[in-house]
Every structure is written in structure tokens, then in C-alpha cells.
Amino acid sequence: MIIVRKIIALAALFFALAVSAPSLAAKVGGKPAELQKWSFAGIFGTYDTNQLQRGFQVFKEVCATCHGARLLAFRNLVEPGGPEFSEEQIKLLASEFMIEDIEAEGGERPATLADNWPSPFASEIEAREANNGALPPDFSVLAKARGIYQPFPDWAFNYFTAYQEGGADYIYNLLTSYEDPPHGVEVSDGQEYNAFLGTGIAMMNPLMDDLVEYDDERLPRTVEQYAKDVAAFMYWLADPHLVSRKTIGLNVLIFLSILAILMYLVKRKIWANVKH
């Protein structure tokens, strides 16, 4: 009984500490985020391979024109726990890109599986020149570098649900919230209004219905579907080992729970004849 009470007291203390921790993201001025259901959420979460493949398609055909992904290697697209394209597919894809290599003839060679995704611009200056002075952020860990604002006590529950998908929700909401500015809101030249941010944004609305042709014709070709798929892809890009990590984690938790019970029983046995 005493042990149970102590554990409850500790849990309460831990909860209090968790509650007093900072909320993860500063409040954005716009409308509240609509949280999506993600296949990779929760302790049993895994990536949906088909969704990652579609998300990669959106990335390649739309986003990659301006955004880089310098930490993405072509081989990652083949590895388990990701989009899991076939090696042939990605070898073919890689060979379409030229990589600067001073040791190759002519200073250039086709990319291989070992190469990283080439940047769409040669330098930051070139990128800014092409984008009205704004720098399109690199996608490598972008889904981890964004979070959504949640009022108290919503974020306090995250510690118990292991909600980590704020970045994916941010991307989805950003991409689906391009609207005409409300009355009285001025948006500066070269910007469009985004209702999720509540301000102008230098990135022009990148998605529209029927923009990308999915192989699977049963899927809707809508902005919402594209946004969701590319957000999932970007989350994988930022956390590529999530599936194996969660699988190991589940085993670790089961192991520790059983070990804790055994430890308790041994402890009780040893202390059985001691008045304390």
C-alpha cells in the first residue's frame, strides 16, 4: 500500500513538473490548428508506405523546385521504415541528377544511391534572388522545427499521449489555409495571406486541386490530400527511424515492466522478516 501511495505521489510530482514545463510553440496569430490523424502517432504508430511515396511525389514535383533536403540521401528512400521504393527505381531517379564532383571528368557526374539530394540553388543569394528575397527553408528537419500552439491544459496531456506530430499538423494547416485576406488586413507585395499564420507569407500557394497525378486513381486529388501526404513525408524525412525506434521501445517497456515486478518481489522477499 505504502509503495502504491509513494508511486502515486511521484507520478503527481512528475505531472506537476511536466505541467510547469513550457508549452512547445509560441502562439501564432491565426486560426487554431486542425489536428489530423497520423498513422505514425502514438506508441504503435508506423509510417504508411504508400502515403510516404505519394508525399515524396508531391515533394519532388512541387516543393523541390525551391526547397532543398540536404540531409536526405537517395539510399534513404529505399531503406526500411520509409517510402521503401525499389532500389532500381531510386537508382534511376538518382541518375537524373548531376552532382558536382571535382574528381569526375568535367567536374560533374550522375548521382548514386550514396549521394544526398542536390540543392535546387547553388547558393543562398541565388535562392533569395529567385524567391523575391525570401529563403525557402531546407526540408531535412523542418517537420521537427515547427510546432503548433496548444492552450493549457491541452499540451499537458501530450506527455501522456506522446503527441509529437505538431510539426506535421503545422505543415498541413499552413498548406490548407491560403485564403483571401480579411477586411482591413494588408498583405505586402510578393506575399499571400495565410489564415493559419494570420499574416502574409512569402511562399505563394504551392498546391491546387489536380496538380499532382497520383497513380492510385481512387485517391482524391485535392489540396487537403496533397498537404497531408507531403506533411507525412516531411515528418519521415525529419524522423526517419521512428518505426524501428517505436518497435524497440515497446519491447523495452514490456521488459522493464516485467523486470520491475520481479525486482519488487525479490525486494519484498528479502525484507519479509524485517520490521521497518
Partner: protein, 428 residues
């Protein structure tokens, strides 16, 4: 020392070694036979948790250092390289980052246990002071470790914290430049922080050695606060307390694993996934949660006091909030150690705990409006608790009668339980 040991070398090799380096004798005396009060409750197990956490941090840290590059051009990507390309790198890096939070959680439990049971009182002042030194070293280590991934929070946290030293009159700016290795946080800063972040844990380990040595002179305190009177009050450390501690360590690992495997980033800040950029200041610069109460006290001082300006005042208050713990044994003069026998002390103590949590919350909020006022109230209570309430209570409080010995206290508790059980039996 050798005389009170129960160790008898069993064979020639052991005897030979014992005469030259009594390592086995020492281990038997201090790791196995060491008499510990039998009434220690579960709050006393966090010392062992902390020892394990220090080991976890050192082991994971050494592995990370094999792959990390302390250069501003490569630091951010090298941490990502660990997460992406090193075998199990995401788990090792996650364990180290989450481990820092778990380490601090455990140290706060350990410190607040000491504050409640009067663990700092004679004859254990030196143990307590060494503990405060460990706490300070931990904060320095954690702060420098947070700079290494070279994200936005790393950079701006380093800028804000090193900048505090410029508040010191006359020598402030030279100290600031000495710490940074230049006029601004840059590559030399990252290099020295990496070097010191590797060094300090071993210094912590050494001070932990002293902390435990000092503990083994008077022995453990206990929940009654009454010193051990006879052998009947104690149990040998092994197997009783080794087993109890091991059980708690395993239980402690469950939430630890929860965070590492399912929410490794939840205790951090998304901005630290953006590479450091000296030209863009994040909208809100916040330290890690475990430093927030002290950050709140730093920001609470936004007014000048005589010739001390607000900035220097804040720095003095922040460092003072930890240094005041060093003199705590001489501020609280109450003869009774355990808070359980101090009826007036208890409400003030729990208010102190709540106040600390409130300051932690306030440290994460922006410094404006009601938050500033509450921070000031919280800071005032923090210092008032040590400087006014504890010294005053020692004079005016009438403590409850203490048991004559630990064994007597256990017996009384047992009779009480029997009485209650009997009563319940009658009622049925």
C-alpha cells in the same frame, strides 16, 4: 577502520592483496556492510537513481563525442548524422538528451527530500554543501551541453547566459569575452563548451565520491530524524538497500524509456531544430525546464536597487538563490531534523514546493503583466523562506515529541496499525 570490518580474506591471493591494497575490505565495508537505518522510505532511493543517471549520461555522452563535430559549420549536421546514420544513434542521442531531464527530475526529488527531512543539519552540513556544488556543476554541464547541437535555442541561450556576466562591474566585459573566446558567441565558444562539457561530468563524479565519503562518516539520516542508537536500528546496505534501490531504478527507467522511444523531442524546443543563426533572434528564448525557476528569479528583478542596476540585481538574485543553500545549515537552527515532527514548518515547506513549481511555470512565460508580478512574489517567498521563515520557526515552534529511537518509532507505528485494524475488525 580495518578493525570494525567483518572481512576475512579467504585465500592466499586475497590475503596478499588485502595487505597491499585493501580494496575488497573497503568494498565490503562500504558497499555491503554499511549500516543504514531500517526505516528509510522510498524518497531515500533517489541517491542511487542519481548515481545510475550520472553513469548513463557519461556512457551515452562518450559515444556521442565519437561522432560529434564541435565546429559551427558542422555541429548541427553532425548531431543529425548521429540521429540518421549512426547505428542506434537516434536512441543513444535521445537517451542523452532525455537523460538530462530525468537526471534533473531525480536531483530535485533528492534536494526536496533533504529540505523536508533536514538532511542538511549537523553533523551532515558538508554532505549538503557538496551536494549544492554538484547541483551547480550539473547546471553548468547541462547548459553547455544544450549549446552543442548548435540550434537556435543553443546559440541564443548561450548568448543570453554568457551575457549575464557582463553585468559584473569593472571586470564584466573582460570576463564575458574570456568565456566566449571573442566578442560574440562563435566557434571558439562552441569549442570550449564542448571541452568543458566533457570535463565537468568527471568532476561531478569526483565530488559525488566526496559526497558519499562524507555520507559514510555519520551515516544516513532517516525519516524520524533521530540518530541511530544501536545496531537494532540498522540493516546492512546489501542486500536490503541494494535491492530496494535496484527496484526503484528499474521503475524510474519506465518513464525514461517512454520519453526516449516515444517522445524524444517533447522536453526540448522545436526552435533547436533550426540551425543557429546570429542574425535572427527567436521570438522567445527559454532555457530547458529544469533551469526555469532560476530564470524566472533572474527576470523578476527589473528595477534598480540603489547603485545596483536591474541586470546586476537579477544576476545576484539568480546566483544567490543557489548559493543561499550553502548556508542553509546555519539558517535553520531548529534542533529537530525531520519535518514530520514540526507542525509549523510543514505548511511553509509545502508552500515552498508549490512556489518553486510556480516559478518554473513563470520562467517559461513572457516577462509581462501578471507574470512579472507573480515572479516577484515567488522570488520574495523563495528568499523569505530561507532568510526569515526558517530562522524564525527555530525560535517559536514547539516540535512534536520525538521517539527515543528508530526501533521505538517502528514499534509505535506497528501498534498503531494493529490498533486501527482491531478497531476496523470491531466495526465489522
Amino acid at each position: 577502520m580495518a578493525s570494525k570490518s567483518s572481512y576475512n580474506p579467504k585465500n592466499k591471493v586475497e590475503k596478499w592483496l588485502d595487505e597491499r591494497l585493501p580494496l575488497i575490505r573497503f568494498s565490503k565495508e562500504h558497499l555491503m556492510d554499511f549500516p543504514s537505518p531500517k526505516n528509510l522510505n522510498y524518497w531515500w532511493t533517489f541517491g542511487a537513481v542519481l548515481a545510475v543517471m550520472l553513469m548513463v549520461q557519461i556512457i551515452t555522452g562518450i559515444i556521442l563525442a565519437m561522432h560529434y563535430v564541435p565546429n559551427i559549420e558542422m555541429a548541427f549536421d553532425s548531431v543529425e548524422h548521429i540521429r540518421r546514420n549512426v547505428n542506434y544513434g537516434r536512441i543513444i542521442q535521445g537517451t542523452h538528451a532525455v537523460g538530462a531531464s530525468m537526471f534533473f527530475f531525480a536531483v530535485y526529488v533528492h534536494i526536496f527530500r533533504g529540505l523536508y527531512y533536514g538532511s542538511y543539519k549537523s553533523p551532515r552540513e558538508v554532505i549538503w554543501i557538496l551536494g549544492v556544488i554538484i547541483f551547480l556543476l550539473m547546471m553548468a554541464t547541462a547548459f553547455m551541453g544544450y549549446v552543442l547541437p548548435w540550434g537556435q535555442m543553443s546559440f541564443w541561450g548561450a548568448t543570453v547566459i554568457t551575457n549575464l556576466f557582463s553585468a559584473i562591474p569593472l571586470v564584466g566585459t573582460p570576463i564575458l569575452e574570456f568565456l566566449r573566446g571573442g566578442f560574440a558567441v562563435d566557434n571558439p565558444t562552441l569549442n570550449r563548451f564542448f571541452s568543458l562539457h566533457y570535463l565537468l561530468p568527471f568532476i561531478i563524479a569526483a565530488v559525488v565520491g566526496l559526497h558519499i565519503w562524507a555520507l559514510h562518516v555519520p551515516g544516513n539520516g532517516n525519516p524520524t530524524g533521530v540518530e541511530v542508537k544501536s545496531k537494532a536500528d540498522t540493516l546492512p546496505f546489501h542486500p536490503y538497500f541494494t535491492m530496494k534501490d535496484l527496484f526503484v531504478v528499474v521503475v524510474f527507467f519506465i518513464p525514461f524509456a517512454w520519453f526516449v522511444f516515444f517522445a524524444p523531442d517533447i522536453l526540448g524546443h522545436p526552435d533547436n531544430y533550426i540551425e543557429a543563426n546570429p542574425f535572427i533572434t527567436p521570438p522567445k528564448i527559454v532555457p530547458e525546464w529544469y533551469l526555469l525557476p532560476f530564470y524566472a528569479m533572474l527576470r523578476a528583478i527589473d528595477f534598480n536597487i540603489l547603485f545596483i542596476n536591474a541586470k546586476l540585481g537579477g544576476v545576484i538574485v539568480m546566483f544567490g538563490s543557489i548559493l543561499i543553500l550553502m548556508v542553509l545549515p546555519w539558517l535553520d537552527r531548529s534542533k529537530v531534523r525531520s519535518g514530520s515532527f514540526r507542525p509549523m514548518f510543514k505548511p511553509f515547506y509545502w508552500l515552498f514546493v508549490l512556489n518553486f513549481l510556480m516559478l518554473m511555470y513563470l520562467g517559461a512565460q513572457s516577462a509581462e503583466g501578471i507574470y512579472v508580478i507573480l515572479s516577484k512574489v515567488g522570488t520574495a517567498y523563495y528568499f523569505g523562506y530561507f532568510l526569515i521563515i526558517l530562522p524564525l520557526l527555530a525560535r517559536i515552534e514547539t516540535p512534536k515529541p520525538l521517539p527515543n529511537s528508530i526501533s521505538e518509532a517502528i514499534l509505535a507505528k506497528e501498534e498503531n496499525t494493529i490498533a486501527i485494524n482491531a478497531e476496523q475488525g470491531e466495526n465489522k
